[in-house]
């Protein structure tokens, strides 16, 4: 995910000194991370792209507020989370319920598609990605932060204002639900993988 060269802190210091062009490096470094996290909140790639763009603009504007006490990705996630919640409030979607209408709708729409696919067409990555999308936004974000955002339980807890132990329990539950989704919708593939 991270490019070589200047560290995040070095880049930020140079940007704050007036080198605006260097912000492009930060964008390139974190665009997929932000975009994936936003996609956990919305199914539309267009919306996700618009929100992600807005997040980077907000990040640039408030860059002087980054004090370097946490990782840049942790601080960036606070902006991602507030932006996504604002977006969902505008769209009046329920983000707390796990088995909400949106999830059911998603399942109904995707179930037939999953069954029509053959094992060869579907890579392990695609299967896990699709299973993650069937989770609630909170579960999906937690898994993405832990596995792809390289965030520790303590860092996630700081952003979500939760105790690390609570984050651990939530992560266990999220993984358990992911396993259930995979067994329910990709049972054939899961058996194949476990057979290997």
């Amino acid at each position: 995910m991270l490019h070589t060269g200047l560290t995040d802190i070095e880049l930020i210091n140079k940007i704050l000194q007036g080198n605006q062009a260097l912000f492009a490096q930060l964008v390139e470094r974190y665009q997929s991370y932000v975009f994936t996290l936003v996609l956990r909140f919305t199914d539309s790639r267009e919306d996700a792209e618009e929100i992600s763009q807005d997040i980077f603009v907000k990040t640039y504007r408030s860059l002087a507020d980054f004090r370097g006490e946490s990782k840049f990705s942790t601080w960036l996630y606070t902006i991602v989370r507030t932006s996504c919640i604002t977006f969902l409030r505008k769209k009046k979607l329920d983000i707390t319920s796990i088995d909400n209408e949106r999830t059911y709708l998603q399942l109904e729409n995707q179930e037939s598609g999953f069954k029509a696919d053959t094992v060869e067409q579907k890579s392990r990555h695609t299967m896990v990605s699709q299973a993650i999308r069937l989770l609630s936004p909170d579960d999906a974000q937690l898994i993405t932060l832990f596995y792809k955002g390289e965030q520790s339980l303590e860092e996630i807890g700081r952003v979500m204002r939760l105790e690390p132990n609570t984050v651990k329990v939530k992560l266990h539950r999220a993984r358990h639900r992911l396993k259930e989704k995979m067994e329910k919708y990709f049972s054939h593939e899961v058996r194949e993988i476990q057979g290997n």
């Binding site: 964008v27 665009q31 994936t36 792209e49 763009q53 408030s62 896990v128 990605s129």
Partner: protein, 177 residues
């Protein structure tokens, strides 16, 4: 069922590299001896590896350019701590404390501290007249709001407000200079 969940939780901790050496060693023993634990471990490890392998979604090719075009006409805003003056925050705090203090003093002034109760405790404790509803209706508010004390209190608040406004404007002037 609980044992099953506990088993999963312990195994996830083990896979994530958490837990004390004693706990890890006990799980290693279980994995070496128990077929059920071995099967579950393999299952969870598969999921763990798959999640690690999941690729992040990428936005469109133009994404970075779009962001840079958007920020080209913007500037980094000054850090919040540079324009939020602690004295202003303290001033606002003092203002509200003065308000609350004034209100409490007024309320305390409404109690009848000398009582004529018949019980033994009434000789030591003040008798509170708590028929607030009737009191509020019959109370002569005009007497309070026309009193010299209220005028002084309001005057102090106005001066405090003007001092705070002056400090705020002064700081803004310094920042823009």
């Amino acid at each position: 069922m609980d044992t099953h969940i506990q088993m999963e939780e312990r195994l996830w901790d083990y896979i994530d590299g958490r837990g004390t050496p004693v706990e890890r060693s006990s799980i290693e023993t279980l994995l070496a001896e128990n077929m059920e634990w071995q099967r579950k471990y393999k299952e969870l490890l598969n999921i763990h590896q798959m999640m690690q392998e999941v690729e992040l979604d990428a936005p469109s090719m133009r994404f970075s350019k779009n962001v840079m075009e958007e920020i080209a006409r913007l500037q980094v805003a000054p850090a919040t701590k540079t324009y939020i003056n602690k004295n202003i925050i303290r001033g606002i705090g003092a203002f509200f404390l003065a308000m609350i203090g004034g209100f409490l003093l007024f309320c305390l002034g409404q109690f009848k501290w000398s009582g004529s109760g018949s019980g033994p405790s009434s000789t030591f404790l003040p008798r509170y007249d708590l028929d607030i509803d009737t009191k509020m209706k019959t109370f002569n508010w005009g007497r309070i709001f026309n009193s010299a004390y209220t005028s002084i209190f309001v005057l102090v608040l106005v001066i405090l407000g003007l001092v705070m406004l002056d400090m705020y404007l002064g700081n803004r002037k310094k920042q823009t200079a």
